[in-house]
Amino acid sequence: MNLRATLLLAVQALVRNKVRSSLTMLGIVIGVAAVIITVAIGAGARVSVQQSIASLGSNLIVVQPGSVTQGGVRTGFGGASTLTPQDGLAVAQLPGVAAVSPIVSVHSQVVAGGNNWQTQLTGVAPTYTYIKAWSLASGRFLSESDVASIAKVAVLGQTVVSQLFPNGSSPIGKTIIIKGSPFTVIGTMTALGQSGMGQDQDDVVLIPYSSAMERLTGLTTVNLLMISATTAAQVNPVQAEVTALLARRHRIVPPQPYDFQVRNLQAFAQAASSTGAVMELLLAGVAAVSLLVGGIGIMNIMMVSVTERTREIGLRMAVGARARTILNQFLTESIVLSTIGGVIGVVVGLLGTVLVAQLAKWPTLVPAGWVFASVGFSAMVGIFFGYYPAQKAANLSPIEALRFE
């Protein structure tokens, strides 16, 4: 018996029992669909965690001014006014640094026409969009010449746009008043939503850091330096180099404490992504159990089928089927069932994934590897759980099988 003939025999037998065949397949269909859907949800969750970490800037290094001691009282980090835009320019020259932006933060009222709004004014460099992985919704972002000319231009976050321009008109080209100075709106940012800490990240007005220093704070120092390393692997070396460079620039001699602090978000990113991986594994584990149950269902039905078809097996043996041929036929039936079930399961799983994404608004992602793995695994389920019943069929004595009532 060649492979084609065996396959034909198996398919014929399955087609003759359509209801039983489809019910048997159902277990595998549900198992595989469950694997696909849960993995898609798990992977989607992981990717969205990764994206939100990336939006924080996963390669991000933050330099804060250190604390100062005045009359025995130590301020916290950020209390000292020691970081300057020039420090930022020097850091930008270091290898492994992709971009640097000084950050100047001021809380202030902003007025546009008849509307006013308390918001966060942030003085930044043109590199800020790159560092934050934040894109423009309309207009243009701040340019190097805006910084150089201390221009009175502003880019608005979506919350500010809706508060100051509630009628939906485009804010581009409009004038807003910040601490008495008129600024021209040149662009708006896309909505970021809440940060990991629950802050509204869109409640912000971005202006050149030079303008913020000159017109709002009146200081020559900045609140922060945000540094983006070229790759995640560069974060730690860059952090070390930045520390060394700033210590040199600030003429700090050990054991004198540093007047700044350099931090990165990698620990946070790692914790978040490993949590995601554990979640994904957990979901896949649950799904694998349902696939296992599907496999046991196949074994169950195949056992019933062998008993029910005992006389058929006896007859096949009497008219010349070898034991091996009977084994192959039943094994093939089970493999065909589970593989077709697996393929249908993938289709159902993909549809289910789309449905989940649409209805629950959950991010989903179907890794192609899992699709092939689940079809392959269900075929293996067919072999594994089909072997015992097939063996049982092949070992029947033809005489007893023919007498079986």
């Binding site: 018996m1 003939a5 025999l9 014929q12 003759r16 029992n17 006389r311 058929e312 006896g314 007859l315 096949r316 043996m317 009497a318 008219v319 010349g320 089927a321 070898r322 034991a323 091996r324 041929t325 033809p398 005489i399 023919l402």
Partner: protein
């Protein structure tokens, strides 16, 4: 030319606890080509065991069995399966057709295992069904046919590989008197006009009367082996 079947001192013993049951206690019998032999006897006489051993569905405990001159004791299980598919035909009391499978496909079944190419199977199956006079039933399912029709399908199935011997185990046991007679007449015709060797197992004298030779078993031994004068002529 050797006989189709030649058995000498054939014994079959079944262990039963500490005891053993002797089903066949040393049987000698030859079946030549073209014979139509009826094996009779009450239940427990060993006639069914004899048929199963001759049909290579079971092995003897002792004695020799030559099939077409070959020693069956030396056959592996696969060899025996191959002989069953190519050289033997079976007809059972309960027809044993595959359910939900057309008559044509049922007739084709032994050829599937004998490795006959699919294109030829159909032609051969239809040819044999034509001989039996049931070609019109080719597309029918077993549950759409009468018992007599199903048994004819089974007879056509036993013919497809041009077997050296057809073994019919109580082929009329489930049929009414008239249908039984029709089926037996069919066996007679196949034997008389196509020289097909047939071994029939039955306990009904009416049915055995169609054979040309009647062997009666009792308690595992042959009680009598006589030509059927009426038909042997």
């Amino acid at each position: 030319m050797s006989d189709v079947v030649e058995v000498r001192g054939l014994r079959k013993v079944y262990p039963m606890g500490d005891d053993e049951v002797v089903a066949l206690g040393g049987v000698d019998l030859s079946i030549a080509k073209g014979e139509f032999i009826a094996v009779m006897g009450p239940s427990g006489s060993g006639k069914s065991t004899f048929m199963q051993i001759v049909g290579m569905l079971d092995r003897a405990t002792a004695g020799t069995y030559l099939f077409e001159g070959n020693d069956v004791a030396k056959f592996s299980d696969d060899d025996r399966a191959d002989v069953r598919s190519r050289r033997l035909g079976f007809v059972f009391q309960s027809y044993n057709l595959l359910p939900r499978t057309s008559a044509l496909e049922n007739v084709e079944l032994p050829m599937v295992y004998a490795g006959v190419p699919p294109e030829q199977r159909r032609d051969i199956a239809l040819e044999k069904m034509d001989i039996i006079g049931i070609k019109a039933l080719a597309d029918h399912m077993p549950n759409q046919m009468s018992g007599g029709q199903q048994q004819r399908i089974a007879i056509a199935r036993s013919l497809v590989n041009d077997p050296a011997l057809i073994l019919a185990d109580e082929p009329t046991g489930a049929l009414d008197t008239k249908t039984s007679r029709d089926v037996m007449r069919l066996f007679s015709d196949l034997n008389a006009h196509r020289n097909i060797t047939i071994m029939l197992v039955t306990h009904e004298p009416d049915v055995a009367a169609f054979a040309k030779r009647i062997v009666t078993f009792r308690d595992g031994h042959i009680l009598s082996d006589i030509p059927n004068v009426e038909r042997a002529a």
